[in-house]
Amino acid sequence: MRRIKRKTKLFLKSIDGVILGNTVLEKSMIIAPIVVMSTSVLNAAVISIAFALVTFFSVLLSSFLPLKMPRSVRHILHALIASIVYIPVFFLLNLVFAETVYKIGIFIPLLVSNSLIVQRQEHKLATLSRKKYLLYILNHILGFVLAAFVIGSLREIIGMGTFAGKPLNIVAVKGFLYPFGGFIVLGFMSALIKRFNSFLGKRQSDKKIFNMEVLKDEPIE
């Protein structure tokens, strides 16, 4: 049992950001589009595609910016790059999922600012190679996609009694389609991930953050 636990932990550490350290479920970031608009599998798919494309390409282009540049200028440039990347992504999505894009509305353009949150991980560029850094960002994107799909499909099943548009002949609880329903599902998913994390054993980084004795002993630089 211990061996399985250790192997699972090692595997999950290698893909950090997908389940452990998930952007949405563990770090509670980029939750607005998921809570409000991830009410069905189709919505979740559109949000995921938009987020994946905008984030990946804007991070890829931003990684070429020199790290010596002042932080404030770099942030402005990040925002500009993300906004420029968003334009072709929007046209592409509008071409394929016009109705869903219209339904989701402001939450797709808002993904530009959400991708900036992921870009704030750029301090990793100093320690990782560009390839590893992009892989790390890809893990986070995958984590977001996973969270969006799970929450979207759960809310569709409970809230509409369908899965990907197919009726399931179960009682629909429409309340789960409202934002508070989204918060309920998100809260329980987060609790599950936290429980799973504690089952595997706390991560070293968490220990460092929450162990006050460690903080006391280490002088603040």
């Binding site: 009682v171 609880v173 429409k174 309340g175 409202y178 309920i184 809260g187 609790a191």
Partner: protein, 361 residues
């Protein structure tokens, strides 16, 4: 700084787990049973089935969830039975049982235990459960039946509640005695006004609930409905209909006085009541949902701590003034008494001297 904080704000210790009061819980259950009796009297066997099934499933559900969350039961904690009794009483008799069951799941699994169980919940579980059901199945929760109606033919027995008439801008017509006895369409256990008032008297007399929240809340509703009536007609009828419609009276007695989610100080309760009354009237004037009480209560619950802090501040502000006032008053009274006493003694002396003069003469 520490002193100011400890005086003016509610500390975490104040918000810690409240031990269940067995006597209070029993009193509330007795009062709710009386309301349930009225529900069964007006709606027949189906109401009895819904109430009994609801209580049993709520107790079983709480037992299961308690095991899952690993929370131990405190002795005298019968809050699950109270929730189980209240949820069906706030719904119409025609509601399917699965609606009540899902409402209970919301109350216990979402509102109560994630926060730590009894004494820790921020929102009133019953209010959240009913609000959630209202948004999920408005077709069931807004369709009431006439009392003593034949439920086998639901189409023939559909009744219009005074709340829906007022919401549509109409004028409800209910005879005075029918309004008092609850002989009009509405949620199962919330229409019998006289019975609810009797329960309120019992609960206040047994010190189970405080009169402050209910008094200030109902007064606010009455004042606002008198100033801004939704009903074209006399002010009195507007106030009366606003007070009897929906779940207002029931909610103010049984839900707004919840010891966990309501403020702990008397001034806080007064602010809370006024806030709740204002929110209810705001929802009724500008909202589109009949069950405005539960939504207002959820909003007020989130501001309960603020009300308590305000209450404490008011008490602290008024305490020295009270002392000063009482000193002045006592001085004033003693001075007056002295003056009067002097007058009386002067009169007595003059009377005595006059008598002596007469005797001498």
């Amino acid at each position: 700084m520490e002193n100011i904080n400890s005086k003016n704000s509610i500390t975490t210790q104040d918000m810690s787990v409240i031990a269940p009061d067995t006597k209070a819980n029993t009193n509330i259950i007795i009062a709710l049973l009386v309301c349930s009796f009225m529900a069964v009297y007006y709606n027949g066997g189906r109401a009895l089935f819904l109430i009994l099934a609801s209580v049993i499933t709520c107790i079983v559900l709480e037992f299961v969830v308690r095991r899952l969350f690993g929370v131990k039961r405190q002795s005298g904690d019968w809050s699950c039975a109270i929730t189980g009794l209240m949820i069906p009483l706030l719904m119409p008799v025609t509601v399917p049982f699965y609606v009540i069951f899902i409402a209970q799941i919301i109350a216990i699994v979402v509102v109560k235990f994630p926060f730590g169980g009894y004494g820790n919940n921020i929102f009133n579980p019953t209010a959240v459960a009913v609000a959630f059901s209202c948004l999920s199945w408005p077709q069931y929760l807004m369709s009431y039946t006439e009392p003593f109606a034949d439920l086998s033919s639901p189409a023939a027995s559909i009744g219009i509640s005074p709340a829906s008439t007022l919401l549509a801008g109409g004028v409800p017509h209910i005879a005075f005695m029918n309004a008092l006895t609850g002989n009009f369409p509405g949620p199962m256990g919330t229409t019998a006004i006289l019975v609810i008032c009797a329960c309120a008297v019992y609960l206040i007399a047994s010190k189970t609930i405080s009169w402050v929240t209910s008094f200030f809340g109902l007064s606010t509703v009455a004042v606002i409905s008198a100033i801004f009536p939704r009903l074209q007609g006399s002010v009195l009828s507007s106030v009366a209909y606003e007070l009897i419609c929906e779940t207002l009276l029931f909610g103010f007695i049984f839900m707004a006085n919840d010891p966990i989610t309501s403020p702990k100080t008397n001034w806080g309760r007064a602010y809370y009541g006024v806030l709740l009354g204002f929110l209810i009237m705001f929802c009724r004037h500008f909202g589109n949902i009949e069950l405005s009480f539960v939504f207002s209560l959820i909003l007020a619950n989130s501001l309960s701590t603020v009300c308590d802090t305000l209450g404490k501040k008011t008490k602290q502000y008024l305490k020295p003034k009270y002392k000063e006032l009482s000193k002045r008053f006592s001085k004033f009274v003693t001075n007056k008494l002295h003056d009067k006493f002097d007058l009386v003694s002067e009169k007595a002396e003059s009377y005595k001297s006059a008598k002596r003069g007469k005797k001498d003469a």
